[in-house]
Symmetry: C3
Subunit: 179 residues, 3 copies
């Protein structure tokens, strides 16, 4: 995928949304691999064996051409510590980060604000992958409703700042916003 003919350089901020198994990670990886050895910042945490299997499969599938970072909670601190100029940073994914923050009872509004504020100072283009989770019936349990609300708020804030926003449908990117 690194040899794909893609003349356009990555914009500073890209948001890639999609449903379950919509191909959003693969699409994001293709964009990031236009550059040499991009960062892959994985937020997933293995709560159980099903999740551990997903993480392992993902890592194997994406191959060795990445600088891998795993960080379930301190996403903003990790981003701020990156210093190699022009190297793309792929964050996969925001919904898992939000889940981890909520499980650990962080103040989501504070963490969101910290993330938004660090974006203008990042050394290279950043791509956020996240699940679109708001198109179903209102969930029965309050935690799921709160999660849905927080995901929506974060997506809106990032999309407003993003240069490109995509919605993946069956592996195909629909352009929601472009520069």
């Amino acid at each position: 995928m690194s040899s794909l003919p893609r003349p356009k350089p990555l914009p500073p901020l890209t948001l890639i949304l999609g449903g379950a198994r919509s191909g959003k990670s693969r699409f994001a990886e293709g964009l990031a691999l236009q550059a040499e050895r991009p960062y892959y910042l994985a937020t997933g945490q293995a709560w159980d064996t099903e999740m551990a299997d997903r993480i392992k499969t993902h890592k194997a599938q994406r191959g060795p051409q990445w600088d891998n970072i795993e960080e379930p909670l301190a996403l903003t601190d990790r981003l701020k510590a990156l210093s190699v100029p022009e190297k793309p940073i792929l964050v996969d994914c925001l919904t898992l980060w939000l889940t981890n923050l909520m499980m650990a009872e962080y103040d989501i509004a504070v963490e969101r604000q910290r993330l938004l504020e660090c974006l203008p100072d990042l050394p290279g283009p950043v791509l956020f992958v996240s699940n679109e989770v708001g198109f179903g019936i209102v969930p029965d349990n309050a935690l799921a409703r709160r999660f849905r609300d927080e995901a929506g708020r974060l997506h809106q804030a990032l999309a407003a700042r993003a240069d490109s926003v995509y919605l993946l449908v069956a592996g195909i990117p629909m352009t929601v916003k472009s520069i």
Copy 2:
């Protein structure tokens, strides 16, 4: 938002769909506020404190520049009673109206038909906000399945008659239909 440069006048019928926290109300408000003091017809009913909080927050956020109407059930009668010409009417939202009708055991097909029939005679442009709820797994309980079906039927009927249909994704309107 009332000073936004928007040369195009509102078409007679606009349908604004979106998921939870997708920015659909804010987008609809921006469109309606092109005119002076539009109607805001809120269908929400406070079943519990969570819902009461949402309604209060929404009202505070949208500010004082609206003629507010609250009507959980008799939406069509309220629309028919409006007589100020060219004043936009924002209905937020249809999914809450459907919920209220179902809880009160109205005949949804009859109410849908009544709504559709009143549309050509409204004095000003109308904008309907509604949740897109059909893109998840089939819900376990029969009431939720019926709700999903009724929402889909209503959206289809309105979209067929609408001049503009939008789907909000992360706060950004995707055009589904335009004149």
Copy 3:
């Protein structure tokens, strides 16, 4: 609907996605009915009276101008047996087929591969209808999560091969991919 002025012939492979009550079947039917007496391959199986009612209603609504086939499981074998050239084949729908396969404990990866391999040899254009189910909160139960994953995988594989992919929203097709 067969008299709709549609100059373009159907491409070999069309994928039509949509949520519940989004009008995906009706849109697919309109496309297939450009030709005389297309095949209607229904995968639905009446597990309960609610499902039986849906199947009956659908069949009555679509009228007599179809060559009807009902096949809950052996979709690929049925497709391979078709031999009338240029006659469109509408498969409605893939999500029910997947459900039937999972209930009967088939190996989904094998069945998916068999379906994909038969496509280039079909005598006429084929249109697949399927539910987009991945845009909600992660379901509580493992079977629903697996179903969502399998639906996503199948949609991606078909979309990659398809000439046209549509996402139905409130009865209106959004073009995801076109030739």
